[in-house]
């Protein structure tokens, strides 16, 4: 039986797009959690972490209820784009997003908080706006850890199963991602296909994790200058 490569390409596409979205939203949320004190901050922090501990099926169920064809959000989506969100490639992206964003937000927050506060104070007292402080000081100083967070989020969104199958289903050639395809192949007793896909996912994950570790433990971590550097 010829190998069907669609799940691999779909998963890569889903992972890239969902990571990009999760970076945009996650960086902002991480900044908010790291820098601002507001009412309900603890709650937001817990809510952000919730997808990490909930069973994927539970998360998928919530999303299905929230974004399904009969929900307000689902109807708005359908009105704008002309087709329902659920059981589409976009649904797989949303599933991957909710699966991976918490990890990115958590790590990005830690990365932003690890930047020495005196740099931020210095920037403020030198007349920098909060925007400028973030883009020219905090982000560059935390960039290695943020890269690592992005890599982890990418790896996680590449391998989501539970949320995807609840929200996007298992439609070969449309919403069948790598993880779902592996399940499908094993169910169908198609061991050869399953083995190839399993190896691909494992290798990708290993490479990405190595990369992430390299970023975290790189030779220079400019956000945390060694004590000896002062003298």
């Amino acid at each position: 039986m010829p190998m069907d490569w669609f799940p691999l390409w779909l998963s890569l596409r889903v992972a890239v797009i969902s990571t990009a979205i999760s970076l945009a939203i996650g960086l902002w949320l991480a900044w908010l959690l790291a820098n601002r004190d507001f009412r309900g901050k603890e709650l937001l922090d817990a809510a952000v972490a919730l997808p990490l501990v909930l069973p994927p099926t539970v998360l998928g169920y919530y999303l299905l209820v929230l974004l399904g064809r009969h929900s307000p959000l689902g109807q708005i989506y359908e009105w704008i784009f002309g087709s329902p969100l659920v059981f589409s490639e976009q649904a797989a992206i949303v599933a991957a997003l909710f699966h991976s964003a918490p990890l990115l937000i958590k790590s990005a927050r830690a990365a932003l908080e690890s930047v020495d506060r005196s740099y931020e104070r210095a920037a403020r007292s030198l007349g920098a706006s909060e925007m400028r402080l973030f883009w020219s000081v905090t982000l560059p100083l935390a960039r290695r850890s943020i890269f690592a967070a992005v890599a982890l989020a990418f790896a996680r969104s590449l391998g989501d199963f539970g949320v995807t199958i609840m929200l996007a289903g298992n439609i070969p050639g449309r919403t069948q991602t790598l993880a779902v395809a592996i399940y499908d192949a094993v169910e169908a007793g198609n061991g050869a296909v399953a083995r190839v896909l399993v190896l691909i996912v494992s290798a990708a994950a290993l490479i990405i994790l190595t990369l992430a570790n390299h970023f975290i433990a790189g030779p220079e971590t400019p956000g945390r200058p060694a004590v000896s550097e002062r003298f």
Partner: protein
Amino acid sequence: MLQVRLQKQYPPRRDSAGFTLDIGFTAAAGVTVLFGPSGAGKTLTLDSIAGFVRPEEGRILLDDQILFDAAARVCLPPRLRRCGYVFQNYALFPHMTMRRNLEFAASGSRNLERHRKINEMLERFHLTEVAGRRPHELSGGQKQRGSIARALLGGQRNGGARVLLLDEPARGLDVPLRRELYAVLRQVRGEFGVPLLLVTHDLEESFELGDEMLVLREGKIVQTGAPSKVLAQPANLDVARVLGLQNLLPVEIRALDPSRNSSRLRYHEFDLNGPYFPGRLIGDRVWIHAPPASLNAIPREGKPGANQVPASLTNVIEKPDGLLLQFNGDLAVHIPRAGFEPHRSVREWLIEFPPASLKIL
């Protein structure tokens, strides 16, 4: 001109006693030293002026601009205050070159003007050669000068910093680097007409740099004045202790004679003759300060004479300019090295208090 009056309270917690900062002072151009032990509220004062910490009460005025006013609910954010802050770790941005660090501070002014300003600063602080280097490639002295230059440029949109706040800049520096820092700060004092507010717990530093000295203790200013005046006449026992003065003796005034400019003081079971103390009464219990260098130490032979107190030697401490002999009863005498050599083995001594050496706190 910087006018500060502020209050900030930290209520007691289970793991820490409460702390109240309640101070007021004015700092003109020149160096004003905030001197005091750790935990006196020195850095908190700087942070309140810079806007990193919000006090509960008071008012901070810088050149007729209100930076903070609790009653009027004014609290400018740090970026609008034009307070140059020199951090203990310099806080030069590690991912930028020295020039980029200065550009960061000078942004907002027009390009040509900014370029000229930065070149001038690099020139003044001898950083032109290393302008293209990043902080980790710079020497300690260069980083120090760079952080001061950057702080002075800050708020360039409106013409640069109007006050320079320095948080223990000499802490952890070796002696040559310290000398260099003092020279740079003197240069800044001479060339830029801005007040410098220097936090330190080093008495020598206060003397070397300070035009005015504010002694802080437990969140309050206990004395102000020129450093030499403060040291010569500490306002009270607290100040004397904060300054680290030795030979603080509790005495009772037994006799006062203005015509002969003399007094008699009772210290434990000894009588000491001192100068006349105006404004004091017989029977007053006061604290006397006798600088270690103004006293004499003589090996004990027979009974103590006039103004002599017997004491046992407990410790000999080497000092750059002689020896500090420490005796029981918290007494210390500073003597030249040669004077001590012949009596190295003597334990029992007499300490002589010349009348002029006794000063009431």
